[in-house]
């Protein structure tokens, strides 16, 4: 799951002019569009982002054994070679994801 941000110029109905808007994507799904000038946000309520993340996390846990099996089938050597590093860095990657979401909610 990836959270990304892009900028786009759109007409803000609050400012009544073209303004820069910050767009947040959750993977390739648009979550929200926010006018940088006035803060008007269109789209999903940010406070739901964390609950969506929890739901997504559960799906990932359930599908983990299957995904790991597929990786082993595709390339066993690479899988074994990368496994230790992945196990060590996993907690940090999860922490970073949660921090990103919390930061967005705070904004």
């Amino acid at each position: 799951m990836k959270i990304s941000k892009v900028d786009v110029i759109l007409f803000c109905t609050q400012c009544n002019e073209d303004t820069d808007h910050e767009v947040i994507y959750f993977d390739s799904e648009i979550e929200s569009l926010t006018c940088i000038e006035c803060g008007k946000t269109t789209g999903l309520n940010h406070s739901e982002l964390l609950s969506q993340y929890k739901h997504d996390w559960l799906t990932r846990i359930i599908s983990k054994p299957h995904r790991m099996t597929e990786e082993m089938r595709k390339n066993l050597y690479d899988f074994i070679k990368n496994l230790p590093a992945r196990m060590i860095t996993k907690p940090k990657r999860v922490y970073n994801e949660v921090e990103d979401i919390k930061k967005i909610e705070k904004d």
């Binding site: 892009v6 110029i9 759109l10 820069d20 648009i30 569009l33 789209g43």
Partner: protein, 237 residues
């Protein structure tokens, strides 16, 4: 029926006033695909269309080529023209690079990515009988004409009002003539039909389009577009 050569000019130069290459809404992605790519695809897939001219911002040529044309339309050829200060300058630049065989010209906003096949068909078919036509839909709200003090002067009858969109379609000779005559005195002109109305004697016909043919302007339009695409995918014939 004699086959006519149909060219489309897609206006994708964006706004000149606040331009940062990455911020042009034409490159904004929905379902991982830029809005401009949706627009181009509609015309590319239509049997009536012979060639496409893209009018782009000169500063965005690399982005257009790398993120749209080479990525989604590698096997196709497009003519490129550069946008001008105002919309009518951009159209004029597009008209200047028309194929010599072009009989009919369609002019379309790049920020209208949801034009459908039927709308393209109807404007081209109409040009077999008429020299100018545009797609539009009956308005749903009431509109008022105001004076300089914002006092209402007149309420036009709603049944006589249409909201006009693109594509706007013309016989080549007519639209080229209109622009040649009017290019130096058209600061108040807001669409191509108006050029024909003001600078030729030809009447422009309105043909019924689709309410889904929205122009991406405000943030809500992006969410609307997303929902329309999802609906079209789900109910694909």
């Amino acid at each position: 029926m004699i086959k006519k050569h149909v060219s489309v000019i897609i206006l994708a130069a964006g706004q000149g006033k606040r331009m940062m290459a990455k911020s042009n809404k034409q490159f904004f992605k929905i379902e991982d695909k830029p809005i401009l790519a949706y627009t181009i695809q509609c015309f590319l897939e239509h049997a009536y269309i012979d060639d496409i001219i893209l009018v782009i911002n000169q500063n965005e040529e690399e982005i257009v080529k790398n993120e749209v044309l080479n990525k989604y339309f590698k096997k196709n050829n497009f003519k490129i023209a550069y946008g001008g200060k105002e919309r009518y300058n951009s159209v004029y630049n597009g008209l200047k690079v028309l194929d010599e065989n072009t009989d009919y010209v369609l002019i379309h906003d790049g920020a209208r990515p949801l034009v459908n096949k039927e709308e393209i068909s109807i404007v081209v078919d109409t040009l077999r009988e008429r020299k100018a036509c545009v797609v539009g839909v009956p308005v749903k709200n009431t509109y008022k004409l105001i004076n300089e003090f914002k006092e209402i002067e007149y309420t036009p009858p709603r049944e006589k009002l249409y909201s006009v969109m693109t594509p706007q379609a013309f016989h080549r000779d007519l639209i080229v003539k209109a622009y040649q005559i009017g290019i130096d005195e058209c600061a108040h002109v807001t669409d191509d039909a108006m050029m024909v109305e003001l600078f030729t004697d030809e009447k422009v016909l309105i043909v019924d389009g689709s309410y889904e043919n929205i122009k991406i302007t405000i943030p809500d339009d992006i969410l609307t577009m997303k929902r329309i695409i999802e609906g079209r995918t789900r109910y694909k014939k």
